[in-house]
């Protein structure tokens, strides 16, 4: 299934402090979108809004699923959730659990252990599967969260600063992953301060809105 997200006149303010203003955009599958803007422009807020975690925006957001015959249907909130993989600033890693245990629940106990171990291997955590996450470094914890990408079947990825705390090799591996996954039909929306070398990269700029 391929999914696109359409924004119409989406704007956001926190208690009368305006963030981004009337945003019209079509996020289409098979592409990587990078949300750019100054600090405080509302990048995280936009991602959280798309994920359905924040509701303080004005305007409309539509999730459309394209069928084979070019017809598209709107997705309800529950369908949006089941098609979405969201990784925020905070990766959702429980310090009391091992990386493997963390991945198990983060994938809602629907993925078998072997693929999860392979995913941990691919993010460079081979040998760390059974060590409490509390003992891992910040970058390693980040990798545990990102290991979900390798077992994800979700058509939409929303990634807030996925590349922070990662070394150069890891960044390159992830960039390749984004590229190939986008090519296979995913919609990837992310924020990052690092340069990304992806052919299909589309940058969405958030501009400050002044208060009316």
């Amino acid at each position: 299934m391929s999914i696109s997200i359409h924004l119409q006149e989406l704007s956001c303010s926190h208690d009368d402090v305006a963030l981004f203003k009337a945003l019209d955009h079509r996020f289409l599958p098979r592409s990587v979108y990078r949300v750019a803007g100054d600090n405080g422009a509302g990048k995280t807020t936009l991602l959280r809004t798309l994920a359905g975690l924040f509701h303080g925006t004005i305007g409309s957001i539509q999730w459309l699923s394209q069928g084979t015959d070019d017809s598209s249907t709107r997705l309800h909130v529950s369908e949006q959730r089941s098609n979405l993989l969201y990784i925020g600033h905070k990766g959702g890693i429980k310090l009391g659990l091992t990386p493997l245990e963390n991945l198990r629940w983060l994938t809602e106990y629907e993925v078998a252990d072997i693929p999860l171990m392979e995913a941990l291997d691919r993010v460079g955590l081979f040998g760390y599967e059974f060590i409490p996450a509390a003992k891992l470094s910040a970058g390693q914890k980040r990798r545990v969260a990102l290991a979900r990408l390798y077992v994800s079947k979700h058509p939409v990825w929303l990634l807030d600063e996925p590349l922070t705390a990662l070394d150069k090799v890891a960044v390159e591996t992830l960039t390749e992953l984004f590229q190939s996954e986008a090519a296979s039909g995913r919609l990837i929306i992310l924020t990052t301060h690092q340069p990304l070398e992806i052919d299909e990269l589309v940058t969405v700029d958030l501009e400050y809105a002044s208060c009316d």
Binding site: R48, A51, G52, L53, F54, H55, G56, S78, R81, S82, L84, Y86, G88, H89, K90, G91, G92, I93, K94, L95, G96, L97, E101, R104, W105, L106, E108, Y109, E110, P132
Partner: protein, 222 residues
Amino acid sequence: MRLSMLAKRDFTLYWRNKSDVSNALIFFVVAVSFFPLGVSPEASVLGPISIGLIWIVALLSVQLGLDSLFRDDYEDGSLEQLALSETPLALIVLVRLLVYWCCVGLPLSLFSPLLGLMLSMPAEAYSTLILSITLGTLYLTAVGAVGAALTVSLKRGGMLLSLIVMPLYTPILIFGSSSVSFAADGLDADGLLLVVFGLTVLSVSLAPLAISASLRMSLENG
């Protein structure tokens, strides 16, 4: 999400971080032991107030642990992952409530006869005490968790949490401790225990809805 696996996960976390549970129990024992020091060690003084006292301290013990019920999950980002799950958040919350109750409420009720003994509680009331605290702590967990969910995004929510939920504990405190008093006086406490049971069923079935709505609100501050 398979809820049994989720329950196992929550139990594992409590098992690996036992202080959450043991602190509530230790508080229960320490606070109750203070009453003879502050009031009087005489059995004739302690006996009559022992029931209410144990009930109130049990209430406070449950209350003190509630602040951390969703806090870790909020701070490490797992709450937003749970909120984005296909499984209704209210069910996930219900699992969490039951696990918390098993880890804190049940041990408290098992400890309560021991404290009753120390406070010269009338012997007839022990079984009713255990039963009413078992049910009562479940009510307290469910209702208190609404407050915990509302204050989870606040840095210092603990005090506020107590302020907003304690008035809501009135009915269970009244009926819970009265049922034990009835039993102590040799009266039939079954009717009151049924009221306690009814209140508990009501709160456990309604509270998860309020809690999941509150958690989603709190996530907007994240």
